[in-house]
């Protein structure tokens, strides 16, 4: 039996593309016992950064490993996988995609050979159906051959409310949220260390992106703030931050966008003009403000004009 497993392993290895062989392990920090994180760069996706712009990491239990998130390209996923293998030989049983955005999902392809459960929000398959092909086309355009191997991985295990996963004497609770940053947001709590992974429900330093519901997002933040955690892991920013103090800037920004946009709508300012009037004093507080703020106000306008 043992030799058969080994030979299957050998065959699988032969089938792995060369880039997998060339994987350079991501540098990671152990932010709590058994939790390793790699900090994404605070930039847009490029060939040079291989779309490694989001925080990615893994949790090691006594029996298995959980990945959250797998990264922004198959190459980043391979590098993350190599980093895991530097730490442990335990099987990678779970790969969590915290939401639909490309910088969080396209690394999943690198974990196919592990045969894990790919975990996503109950709405993730529908959202991938709408967006996956478009995101992949964009990734290829932005990254060129650095996008090779990246593909849309459809989740094999869906979370609609709350579900616990056992990594071996280590329970990770995954929670599905209502429309907020996107309509496919998950958060994770590692019960052993009380570490709260928020995906892009939490941006630190980098401007939040509204792609779900800004009102819903504020609502989710209200309920999250009551949560007791030793630390939080944002989707972008430092890999471990104080909880719930780290929520403050994001909440302030989102609230200003809501209040300012509502006022603009009341004053008859149209959707094209509104970005120049709403929350512009936030500019100095956020990275990539120029790239995303006007889109955020446009998104908020489209949502709030129906109130």
């Amino acid at each position: 039996m043992r030799w058969r497993d080994a030979s299957i392993g050998a065959v699988l290895c032969l089938g792995v593309p060369p880039l997998a062989m060339a994987a350079t392990p991501l540098t990671t920090t152990q932010i709590a016992p058994g939790i390793y994180l790699h900090a994404g760069v605070q930039a847009e996706a490029t060939a040079a950064n291989e779309d490694a712009i989001a925080n990615v990491g893994f949790i090691v239990g006594d029996a298995s490993v959980l990945v959250v998130d797998p990264g922004g390209s198959a190459r980043e996923g391979e590098d993350l996988r190599a980093a895991i293998r530097q730490v442990t030989d335990r099987p990678i049983r779970y790969v969590v995609m915290t939401h639909v955005h490309p910088d969080h999902i396209f690394g999943a392809a690198a974990f196919k050979e592990d045969g894990p459960e790919f975990i996503g929000h109950a709405k993730l398959p529908g959202s991938l159906a709408q967006r996956g092909a478009f995101y992949l086309r964009n990734l290829r355009r932005e990254l060129g051959e650095a996008a090779d191997g990246s593909e849309v991985i459809v989740p094999t295990h869906l979370v609609a409310t709350t579900e616990a996963f056992d990594l071996g004497e280590r329970i990770v609770t995954i929670r599905a949220h209502g429309p907020a940053h996107t309509d496919t947001d998950l958060s994770l709590l590692d019960e052993r260390t009380r570490t709260l992974f928020l995906g892009d429900l939490l941006f630190v330093e980098r401007i939040p992106v509204i792609d779900g519901s800004v009102v819903g997002w504020l609502h989710e933040l209200d309920s999250l703030a009551d949560f007791t955690a030793a630390r939080a892991v944002p989707g972008h920013g430092p890999v471990a931050v104080d909880w719930p103090a780290a929520l403050v800037p994001e909440r302030r920004y989102l609230q200003k966008v809501v209040d300012g946009t509502r006022l603009a709508i009341r004053q008859g300012i149209d959707i094209g003009e509104a970005p120049r009037h709403v929350a512009i004093d936030e500019q100095r507080d956020w990275l990539l403000f120029e790239a995303y703020h006007a889109r955020n106000v446009t998104a908020a306008f489209k949502e709030l004009e129906w109130e």
Binding site: K123, P125, G126, S127, L128, A129, Q130, R131, G132, A133, F134, R137, N138, V152, V154, P179, T182, D183, I210, D211, G212, S213, G216, G268, D270, I271, G272, P275, A294, R295, T298, A299, K302, E303, E305, W306
Partner: protein
Amino acid sequence: MRRMAMILALSVVAAASWPVSGHAEVDEATRQARWTELRDQIFGDRVVEDGAELLAIDAATRAEDAAIVPIKIRLGDGLSRRVSAVYLVIDDNPSPLAGHFTFGPAADPREIATRVRIDDYTYLHAVVETRDGKLYGIARFIKAAGGCSAPAGKDQALAIQRLGQMKMSFTGEPRLGEPYQAHLLISHPNSSGMQMDQLTRDYIPADFVRTVKITYNGAPVLTLESDISISEDPSLTFAFVPTAPSGEVSVEAEDSDNRHFVHSWPVKAEPGS
């Protein structure tokens, strides 16, 4: 309507044979040739005169979100008294004729606005048709890309639940005999038919608002024939002139699945100033 359908069909054929190229490489001559081709399809051998002095397109040179690009078309006083219709053409969109706006007697046609999808760096053309059959056109270049294939809908569940709902807001107070501006929203995904279902590898069928008829007390204000170039949750700003103390403005919309949506709002106008 038949002509519109024919133009759309032509457009789709044209788009299919249109070379796929990055926006940076398309030169000015190619863009002009594209417009000539479209102009011939839409207007035949009729002359489109330069309308630079008579009308304007307001839009940001670089769009923030290519799926929601606000566009305003303004007509000068001279032209607004003669206008019968406006064509809005987005040259490099897969279906370039974005909208055909026909004004009725109750309209004040000086300003209309909507939101469009833009698929690639492109010229936008507005062509005004007058009641005596003259055509005046202007162009504006817009930098935006990906708006047609971009996935619409940030909250899919809400979009389905709200399908066909309408919202109307007004600017200022209505006065008899004076233009009164209204802003209409129709909740509709306006799917472009260019998004692929990753599971089935099928394209999600186009499903869009095809016509919007606006009337005031039964008199036509504006009819819009539109298609997939109009953004999700179609938006339309227009003006009409109230003539009765107690009237109503009505909207009748029909989509490509032949769904009908009808809504009315009361308009209580005070005597003019």
